[in-house]
Subunit: 145 residues, 6 copies
Amino acid sequence: MEQLFDQYLLESSRTSTGRTITEADIVLHAGQTGDFYPHHMDAEWCKTQEFGQRVAHGTLILSVSVGMLAGEINEAAFSYGYDRVRFIAPVFIGDTITSKATIVAKKDHAKKPDEYGIVDEQVTVTNQRGETVIAFVHVYMVRKK
Amino acid sequence: MEQLFDQYLLESSRTSTGRTITEADIVLHAGQTGDFYPHHMDAEWCKTQEFGQRVAHGTLILSVSVGMLAGEINEAAFSYGYDRVRFIAPVFIGDTITSKATIVAKKDHAKKPDEYGIVDEQVTVTNQRGETVIAFVHVYMVRKK
Amino acid sequence: MEQLFDQYLLESSRTSTGRTITEADIVLHAGQTGDFYPHHMDAEWCKTQEFGQRVAHGTLILSVSVGMLAGEINEAAFSYGYDRVRFIAPVFIGDTITSKATIVAKKDHAKKPDEYGIVDEQVTVTNQRGETVIAFVHVYMVRKK
Amino acid sequence: MEQLFDQYLLESSRTSTGRTITEADIVLHAGQTGDFYPHHMDAEWCKTQEFGQRVAHGTLILSVSVGMLAGEINEAAFSYGYDRVRFIAPVFIGDTITSKATIVAKKDHAKKPDEYGIVDEQVTVTNQRGETVIAFVHVYMVRKK
Amino acid sequence: MEQLFDQYLLESSRTSTGRTITEADIVLHAGQTGDFYPHHMDAEWCKTQEFGQRVAHGTLILSVSVGMLAGEINEAAFSYGYDRVRFIAPVFIGDTITSKATIVAKKDHAKKPDEYGIVDEQVTVTNQRGETVIAFVHVYMVRKK
Amino acid sequence: MEQLFDQYLLESSRTSTGRTITEADIVLHAGQTGDFYPHHMDAEWCKTQEFGQRVAHGTLILSVSVGMLAGEINEAAFSYGYDRVRFIAPVFIGDTITSKATIVAKKDHAKKPDEYGIVDEQVTVTNQRGETVIAFVHVYMVRKK
C-alpha cells in the first residue's frame, strides 16, 4: 500500500482491536528491558503502595499501543518519533486496552517541503472502563509523491 | 533511596552499561507488540531496501534505553512521560547501544508547586560507532519533601 | 533408538503427561505466530461471545500435543505430516490436556515400498473433564531396515 | 468484517508478508512444545546428518504460516481444522518463508447445509528460493447468512 | 567498581528487592530447560499430590536468586560456583521471594594465595511468610590487588 | 516409574542429548533472572576482555544441564540440592553441551534411615571440544520402599 501525504485526512481516525495486558506481558517486558522494579514485579510490596497491585511498565503500554495500530504497511510513511507521551492512569494485570488514533495535524517537512510532509497522529489508549491510560502523538514523515 | 526535587542537579548525568541488540530481542519485541512488519522480520525483503538489513523496532530501542537506566529506585520520583522522542538512525542486529541521561531542566509542577517539581532528563542513545540512534526527554514528577 | 516399520504394532498406544495450558502459553504463541485475534487476546470482548472467555490458538494445542508425545527419538522414523486435524472443543486458560496416540494404520510407501512404510498414528487430546479437544492423524515415514 | 459463504470466490488467493525463521524462533518453539530433539537443538549432531544443520520444527512452520495469514477477522468464519499437512522440504535458520492461500473448494456443511458451508483454502508455503516447504488445506466453516 | 578481597567484610550483608514468582516464570523456565515434569506443568495432577498445586523448578528459584543479587559489577570478582544448594521449601505460583546474602568466610586461594582470595557468601531466600525456601553458598574468587 | 534407593547402582551413568547454547538462550536467561551484566549482554565490551566474546550465565548452564537430564520421572526420588557446583570453563554462543551423570555415592538419610536414602549423582557437562564446562553433584533423597 502507498498512502501519500495528500491522502492523509485531518480528523480521520482508526481503532485497534482490544488487548488484555497479562502478568505474562509484564514478566516478558521486564525481561526484555531489564526493569525489575518492585512496582512491576513484587506483588507483596505493591499491596503496601497507593495502587495496591502491580502496574504495567509505561514502555510496555506504549509499545503494545504502537504495535496494535500497525496495520497495513504504508510504504510512503516513516515513523519519525513520538511527542508528549503521557502516562495518565496505571494499567493493571487483566486490564484490556484499546488504541484510537486520529490525524490531528499536517505540515510541510522543514528542510524538504517538496518531498515530505509531517503527519501528527494523536493516539489515545483507554481501558475497559473507558479511562485514558496513556496518550501520545505519533509523528510520521510521509512522502508527497 | 529517596532523592527529592532539590537534590536533582542540572547537568548531572549518568550512563548505562552497553547492550547488544540481538535478533532474539527483535523476535521477542515483535511477539510482544504484534508488529511483524517486514522491516523487522523479513531479511530477504530488507536486502532490497535502503538499509539492506532488518532494523530494530523503535519501541524496542526506546524500551531498552529506559530499562537500562532503571538503576536504584527513587521513591520520590514518578515517570511522567516522554517528550520529543526521535528515531535518528537505525539500530541493526548486533549493534551495541549505550544510554546517557543528563538533567536538562527543572521547574515547578503547574498545579501543585509546593509539593512537586518536574525534572527533564535528556536521554541520548548511541551505538558502538558513536552515532546517536534515538534521543528523547524523560519527564519525571518529583516530590519536594 | 531404532524402531523399524515392522516393529510398529497396530493398536499399540502411548499417553503423554498432562500439561496445563496457561495464559502465558497463549501470550507466547500469539507472539510466535503473529495471531493476536481477540478470541485469544481480548478478555473483555470474549465475555460477549459464545464461550465467555479467551480460547487457546488451535496451532498452540496442536503444537503442544505433538511436543508432549516427542519421547525417545526413533532414528528410523520421519514426520511426514498430519491428516484430518480437527478442532473439536475449545481449550481455555487453566485447562489441562493429555495426548493419547494409537497406531491405526500401516502401509507400504507408494514409491519406495521396499525401503519405507507409512505409519498412521491417531492422536486424541482430551481435557481434564475427559472431553476431546483436538484429534488428528500423525503420519510417519518409517524405514524398513 | 463479515464475509459470508457466498462471498468466498473459488481460486481467489491472498499472500502473506515474508518472515525470516530465526534461531530464536526455534528456541522459543522448543520451549513452548517441549520438543528438544537434536534435529532442532544440537548443531554439532546436525553436522553429521543429511541436512548438515538444524531444522525448524514442523509445527513451528505450520503455526507461523497460519498466523501470517491471520489478517482481518471474518466474524462469519471458524477454523475447522487442517487436511493433508505435508512437510515437503526442511526450513533452516535464516530461511524466509511466505504463505499463499487459495480457495480450492466449497461445499455445504453436511449436517447444517442451510446455515453453514465448508471452505477449503489450500496453503502453500515457500522459501526464498521458491521451494515449497509445507503445504496444507485450511478448512473453515462459514456462515451462510 | 572494583572491590578487592580485603574490602569484603565478614558478616556484611545485602538484600535484594522482592520478586513474585509467576506462572509465566515457570512456563518460561520449563521452556528454557526442557523440564516439563508434571510437578511444574500439570495443575490437575498436582492437586493429587502433597502440595496440592504446581511448584517452581529449583533451578528457577536458584537462578532468580542469583540474578536478583547481581547489583553493581565488581570487576575484581569472579563467580566460582555454589556450595550446599538446598531446596528447603516449595515455591508456589504467586509467592514473593527475597534474597539475603551475607559474607560468611574468607580464605586464600589454594594455588595463588598472593593473587586471589575465596569469599563465601551465604544466600538465604525467603518467601512472603518468612519461610526459607532455598539456601546456598555463592563462592567468589576475588583479586587481592 | 518408581526406582527405589536399592535400585540405584553405584557407577551407573546416563548421558543427555546435546544442546547448542544460543544467543537467544542468553537473552532469555537475562530476562528471566534480571542479570544483564555486560559479560553476557555487551558484545563490544566483551571484545576488550579475556574471552573476547559474550559468555553464558552460570545459572543458565546449570539449569539447562539439570533439565537435559530430566528424563522419565522417578516418583520415589526428590531433588534435595546441589553440592560443589563449579564453573570450570566458559560457554560461548554456539557451543554445544552434553551432560553425563554418574551415581557416585549412596548413604542412609541421617534422620529417617529406614525410609530414605541419599544418592549423589556427579554431573559433568562438556562442550563440543570435550572440555568440561561445569561440574556438580546433584543430591537426591530416595524412598527405600
